[in-house]
């Protein structure tokens, strides 16, 4: 008779607890149908009914009920991107579990999320009248068991990412999309470390994620249709416009932008022009929104360096070999906007 699926649209805290360990999957669904204000029914869950016919929506003791709550998104890593992505989700009414192993970074995360939400409101990037969803923080991934999707946003290092993704794959329900947020690491390289490579895909959010409406989405060789569709529904609920691309080092944006920024650094290094002059020309003559060096400061120079190394190792393109000036700045701890100094000086470090 096979497995039957029932769909329900009501979420209860007790029910979510009861579902753990049972054969079920949670699906992002209906984002186009239900508006963000109707968050309680924004997502639908499909629940497997076993051969016995027992409806697993009922807990082991037959209990039901509890307050209605939306399934949450787990974000791993409370660095610049993790905090930004969490803020984007919270601002669109999606509850977030933010996981970070560094104690001081974890402790500071809620205040940083708060500042992001204020910036988003200031610039009109989020609906002003809507209260943000609930943020939970944790040092452990264990709480991600009920997550409807996991976004991994740890350091741009294949081994670090693989470790987190592998752990997440063992914790979440089968079929839960695992999304690696990366600027350059090929998704298929990470797929070997997860038990369910078909659930894995990539995103490359720009910084800050709520100010930039377009998101690069990376479909790996082994990415399944269901995971991709679920991720696209999530992005739609977050009011982002996805562009799905293939899986090569740096994908599209980093493959083009990062060597270009590297060249801009080289121009400054050689004394041809100052950072201000390079940016002024790229902005004024070529229509670049902020200039490559201001963009570098916003990306984070450490992240840019990691990404260039990934590109250089995998493509052999000498244009991707990090310039000495960039390496020097990172070694000196001048990482851009987030530390208050990079190619420019910043008054307040808030992002």
């Amino acid at each position: 008779m096979g497995t039957e699926w029932v769909e329900d649209t009501v979420y209860t805290a007790t029910a979510v607890e009861n579902y753990r360990g049972n054969a079920h999957r949670i699906d992002w669904n209906g984002a186009d149908v239900f508006g963000p204000r109707d968050i309680s029914i924004l997502f639908r869950r499909k629940t497997a009914i076993g051969a016995s016919g027992r409806d697993r929506r009922t807990g082991p003791h037959g209990e039901r009920g509890g307050p209605v709550t939306a399934p949450r998104l787990a974000v791993v890593g409370a660095g610049v991107m993790g905090v930004g992505i969490a803020s984007l989700a919270l601002g669109h009414g999606v509850p977030v579990l933010l996981v970070e192993t560094d104690a001081s970074r974890l402790a500071g995360a809620p205040a940083r999320v708060h500042q992001h939400l204020r910036l988003a409101r200031l610039t009109g990037a989020l609906p002003a009248e809507e209260a943000p969803a609930r943020l939970a923080t944790s040092a452990s991934l264990a709480g991600a068991a009920d997550a409807a999707a996991v976004v991994e946003a740890v350091t741009e290092n294949g081994a670090c990412k693989a470790e987190v993704l592998s752990e997440a794959a063992m914790i979440v329900a089968p079929g839960t999309p695992l999304i690696s947020n990366t600027s350059s690491i090929p998704i298929d390289e990470l797929a070997d470390s997860v038990s369910c490579p078909e659930s894995l895909l990539g995103t490359h959010f720009m910084n800050p994620p709520y100010l930039i409406p377009t998101v690069e989405v990376i479909r790996g060789k082994r990415t399944g249709e269901l995971a991709l569709a679920a991720a696209l529904r999530l992005l739609s609920a977050l009011k982002r416009t996805p562009v799905v691309v293939g899986d090569t080092p740096g994908f599209v944006t980093s493959r083009i932008l990062h060597p270009m920024i590297n060249d801009a650094v080289r121009v400054v290094e050689s004394g041809t022009a100052t950072a201000e002059e390079v940016d002024a020309l790229l902005q004024g003559c070529l229509g670049h929104r902020t200039g490559p060096l201001r963009t570098a400061d916003l990306i984070g120079l450490d992240n840019l360096l990691d990404s260039l190394r990934v590109l250089h190792e995998r493509t052999g393109d000498e244009g991707c070999r990090p310039t000495a000036l960039l390496v020097d700045k990172v070694e000196a701890g001048h990482l851009g906007r987030k530390t208050g100094r990079g190619f420019y000086e910043y008054g307040e470090t808030l992002l």
Binding site: Q115, R118, L122, G124, R337, G347, L351
Partner: protein, 95 residues
């Protein structure tokens, strides 16, 4: 943190301190009614930096309804918002 501890700052004091801060940060001077963001040289990220600066320097809390670009567009707009929010000099500095 640089205001006196004798109560509310005047519009002139606020504008002066604000202009000074802007000149230091942007390496140019700004007329009181000049639009900081019109040329595109300053971004919305700079506006958020101004929020943090105003709160620290003048001891105000800029909440929900005031978080609009219009309030940060000119020196005058910012100073009148600070005045309206109390601009209590005694609250200045670290809370």
């Amino acid at each position: 943190m640089t205001t006196s501890s004798t109560g509310a700052a005047t519009a002139q004091e606020i504008e002066q301190e604000l202009s000074c801060h802007l000149e230091k940060r942007t390496k140019r001077s700004w007329a009181p009614e000049e639009d900081l963001f019109a040329s595109g040289a300053l971004s919305s990220l700079f506006a958020m930096e101004l929020v943090v600066y105003l709160e620290k320097a003048f001891g105000v809390m800029i909440g929900g309804p005031d978080l609009r670009m219009e309030n940060f567009r000119t020196v005058r707009a910012m100073s009148s918002m600070v005045l309206r929010l109390g601009g209590d000099a005694e609250e200045g500095g670290d809370a």
